[in-house]
Amino acid sequence: MEQLRTYVIGITAAGLIAGILLGIVRSKDTSGTLLRVVVGMFLTFTVIRPIVNLNIGDINSNLTSFSQEAGESAADGEILARDFYCSYIKSETQAYILDKAEDYGADLTVEICLDDSESAVPVGVQIRGSVSPYAKTALGRIMERDLGILKENQVWID
């Protein structure tokens, strides 16, 4: 950008100086023609020289850094969505189990464990509270059938 700035300002300033010079010296004899040639050469040199030394590496590095920042922000969004998604599934599954437990008159606290897959399926459960053996069996069966939580992954703590 700095190179471009120098280039554009250089050309415009050269044009301004050349224009003022030609405006002051308006003679159409040999000296006037000579001045026009010198001014023309000066302008050509100002226009062409910086193009040869142009460096476009800055643009490339800028693009890479913006892509990195974009990736980081998008990753934050995915984490946020994932956290919300998992907490929603946990609370819904918990509510489902507690609702069924209430039918059997059991007062429980439930903690759900999700798997690491993208779908975050409930795979384990830790249940605290006193419950009759009949209700325990029935609830275990419901959790296995409706929620897909295997018996060996159902931990009961009295």
Partner: protein, 346 residues
């Protein structure tokens, strides 16, 4: 009535005790705080409030601009009277008149160019804070590819445009004014050509950047939007294959994420749009008032004054118009990008 109350309580019972996705739009910069509407949930109402408040800025600026224009018209009239006397050289009066008019207009033009640059910087800085949160919200809604592409594109074009404005276009505005003053004073044909070339280069630089940006947004919107939509569809298919009750819960969760992220994203988008407008509108009205008054002056001077002097005033109006275009371009770019985030593309 009884039924309505019952229905209300039944709806309350069905609500889910899960907090929404939490993200906040960056607070409006201090320069836009006066205009920022108190109500920013509805864009239309907020915009109306901003516009109503901003109109209050118009009167003092019009008064200031009128004073400058009055002095300029008086100066042009004096020069015209002097030129009518025999024995006064046209070149000398044009030279003196050009210096006088340029001096009269340069002070206010200079402060307005600074105001324009400050506004460009503030909008760009606000964009740097707004874009990441909008990207995060859009990615949370499932538009990961589209959000990344939008962020990278907008940040890049904004950086290019802001750098161009601060490092090249603003010095070029001053050079353009110098060339205009020199043209008016000397009347050299080559200077007029250089001045026109500078004006052409400034105008086309802005136009090209906006064209390329719009093209980029359109193409990446379609391409990345399709990719994200395919990914979401695949995720939904995976969910539907799970045990019935769990499948329902997973599907609800997925839907809740989309709705929650979408709500947050739109709220932030509306706030962001209003914040950008609040920062931009005050300076835009100030510069716009001066622009219109100088244009009017150029018209009046075209009737009473010399061609060169009225041309100089027209060029000052052109420079002012260009400052308006620069601030407008940066504002427009950020607004288009924010609207694209809000639209979602998924």
């Amino acid at each position: 009535m009884k039924r309505i109350v019952m229905l209300f309580f039944m709806i309350l019972l069905t609500t889910i005790p899960v907090s929404a996705i939490e993200l906040e739009a960056p607070v409006v910069p201090s320069s836009g705080r006066d205009l920022m509407p108190s109500e920013h949930e509805s864009f239309t109402e907020g915009l109306l409030e901003v516009l109503t408040d901003a109109l209050g800025y118009l009167q003092p600026d019009l008064k200031e601009a009128s004073g400058i224009c009055f002095c300029t018209i008086a100066a042009v009239m004096i020069v015209a009277v002097l030129q009518s006397f025999h024995g006064m050289s046209g070149n000398v009066t044009d030279l003196a008149g050009s210096i006088l008019v340029a001096t009269l207009l340069l002070r206010s033009t200079n402060s307005l160019i600074h105001l324009g640059m400050q506004t460009v910087g503030e909008i760009s800085e606000y964009g740097k804070l707004l874009l990441p949160v909008m990207t995060t919200a859009m990615a949370a809604q499932g538009g990961v590819t589209a959000a990344s592409a939008l962020y990278a594109g907008t940040a890049f074009f904004d950086a290019v445009l802001t750098s161009l404005i601060s490092k090249i276009l603003t010095p070029m505005v001053y050079l353009f004014l110098s060339l205009a003053a020199a043209c008016s004073a000397v009347g050299e044909e080559m200077l007029i050509k250089v001045k026109d070339a500078v004006k052409w280069a400034m105008t086309w630089t802005l136009k090209i950047i906006l064209y390329v940006f719009t093209g980029y947004i359109s193409i990446t919107g379609v391409v990345s939007g399709t990719t994200d939509a395919a990914a979401l569809k695949a995720a939904k298919l995976t969910i539907s294959g799970v045990v019935p009750v769990v499948g329902g819960i997973l599907s609800d969760a997925s839907e809740a994420v989309l709705v929650s992220a979408g709500t947050v994203k739109n709220a932030m988008g509306v706030y962001g749009l209003l914040a950008v407008v609040s920062v931009w509108l005050g300076p835009f009205i100030r510069i716009g008032a001066h622009y219109l008054m100088i244009k009017l002056t150029a018209g009046v001077c075209g009737i009473i004054g010399s061609k060169r002097l009225s041309g100089l005033i027209r060029d000052f109006a052109g420079a002012m118009g260009f400052v308006l275009a620069m601030t407008g371009a940066v504002c427009l770019m950020l607004m288009v990008s924010t609207v694209c985030y809000m639209k979602g593309m998924v």
